[in-house]
Subunit: 309 residues, 2 copies
């Protein structure tokens, strides 16, 4: 039996405009990596974390990778010792699913070492437990796509109903991370507890349109549907130049553009790599007009999710 | 050139649980028929209406069939005389899209006589104009499926975006019409102007799930998604025994059950004709327990919409 393995889990975009709190997708890169090694300690421990600037807790019970492994081992009834080395490539608090990727990479690694006893979908609840530690709520819209790849719908939580979306067309994602900090707690706080019936219907029409655009391979319908009347109107206030950047992305040919998770990263979707590149330049230029430096990544969508490397 | 034609337009179920105000589908039968005859009068007139119990206006400008034909002829710039005979098979105010079917049948007939100058989708706005006369608002969730067949999403109205859903699996509809009257104005009045953010998210998850269930041919997902947390909780109060009837439909094997349009007709969806029959009996029995007589129809879904007969 192998006692050490390395795994990669990709960044993810949650919400996806009209999919507030129900939708996410995975990109091919960047992502986090873990190296898991079994030992005789019967404990889960974090040996080192590289790339977090010293900001993440090394206590296994407070780290998404540690919590994910611990809850998995408890569920399958194995009491083995596990040492975790975590290689962070995703910026913390950026809206790219950084905490989710660490937990997912660790889960996929431990599941591999235990003979893949659970399916990717069955791993979702353990990754959600880890999210609860990191974010205060057990959301699945980052962990499910990071585990399963592609676009994933979280139809419901009680009981959990996670549906992989059968997308046949090519999509490229542009991720633009402006150098500002938006606290998740602030992003949550500004959401209004009620929405108008009209806005709820508009959101329904758009999420339905997006599902049909994705499954019926209709780029134009995807573009028409990528609108958010619920979270974006209030959350965009945290991102200087948001509307100008969004418009620039669409003018440059992007199918749509919105806030990735609760921000501050913005995502845009494009039909091909060239367009995604033009969209990236337009967004970066517009952020620069608002005195914001940015990091930019262009990636295909990731069809399979986290993997052993 | 032919100067007379007969057309049929099917009944429709709007809303479809989680698809409040954005979704509808057409059944194979029952439906309304029109006989259109061109003449030299240069006016649109209603010659006779059969089956309405004398309740519908014979003035062409107040009848959905008349309004639909008139607005179509104006748009294509033809000033021909048209005599309409209308054969109503759908009960008025039942929630089965009765006014829509009359308008749609008339439109398909006049478009046929004019050489099919417009596509089915292009006819939607004229049928909506007719709905405005009948219902006070230009909704498309009955007229679009009656014109185009199958399941149709109304993603948006400004501008109008009507999307036919590519459904490959078999579906049967049970329509149960209890002998009570629910005024559309009352059904509209009880809707709350705001919904909780939580309910809006739940509705998003369910409409997205229904779209995926339909396009990815997943009966179980369709069943899990056929829930309405927005209109049904308030509108079901108009229908004695609603919850008992809905539960009976699901216990009998139905994929889901809800209010057709704004009621009082209830619809249920089933995988096959036998199941739709058992569902019908269960629903009828439960309504009888609540001292309500019912009419029942079982039909396949109509894939093509209105037709020349």
């Amino acid at each position: 039996m192998k006692n050490s393995v390395r795994a990669f889990a990709p960044a993810t975009v949650a919400n996806v405009c009209c999919g507030f709190d129900v939708l996410g997708f995975a990109v091919d890169h960047p992502g986090d990596e873990v190296l898991l090694t079994l030992n005789d300690s019967r404990e889960v421990s974090i040996a080192q974390i590289i790339g977090d600037g010293g900001r993440l807790p090394h206590e296994a019970g407070k780290n998404t990778a540690g919590v994910a492994v611990h809850s998995y081992l408890q569920a399958i009834g194995e009491r083995v010792g596990v040492e975790i080395q975590l290689f962070k490539n995703l910026p913390l608090g950026s809206g790219m699913g950084s905490s989710a990727a660490s937990g997912v990479a660790a889960l996929v690694a431990i599941n591999h070492l235990m003979g893949n006893r659970l399916s990717r979908k069955e791993l979702v609840p353990f990754a959600m437990e880890a999210e609860r530690i990191a974010c205060g709520s057990a959301h699945a819209d980052n962990v499910a796509p990071s585990l399963m790849g592609g676009f994933v719908l979280i139809r419901d939580y009680q009981p959990l109903d996670v549906v992989k979306i059968d997308v046949k067309l090519e999509l490229y994602c542009t991720l633009v991370h402006p150098h500002i900090e938006v606290k998740t707690s602030d992003s949550r706080r500004v959401l209004r507890p009620t929405v108008s019936l009209r806005d709820a219907v508009t959101q329904s029409g758009n999420i339905a349109g997006l599902m049909l655009g994705l499954t019926q391979s209709d780029y134009a319908l995807i573009a028409r549907s990528l609108k958010d009347v619920i979270a974006e109107p209030v959350r965009s206030a945290f991102i200087p130049g948001f509307e100008a950047v969004r418009s620039a992305a669409v003018r440059a040919g992007g199918l749509g553009c919105g806030i990735s998770g609760s921000g501050p990263t913005l995502f845009a979707l494009s039909k091909d790599a060239d367009m995604a590149q033009r969209v990236a330049q337009a967004m970066q230029h517009e952020f620069a007009n608002h005195q914001l430096k940015t990091d930019v990544v262009i990636s295909k969508l990731n069809p399979e999710g986290a993997k052993i490397i």
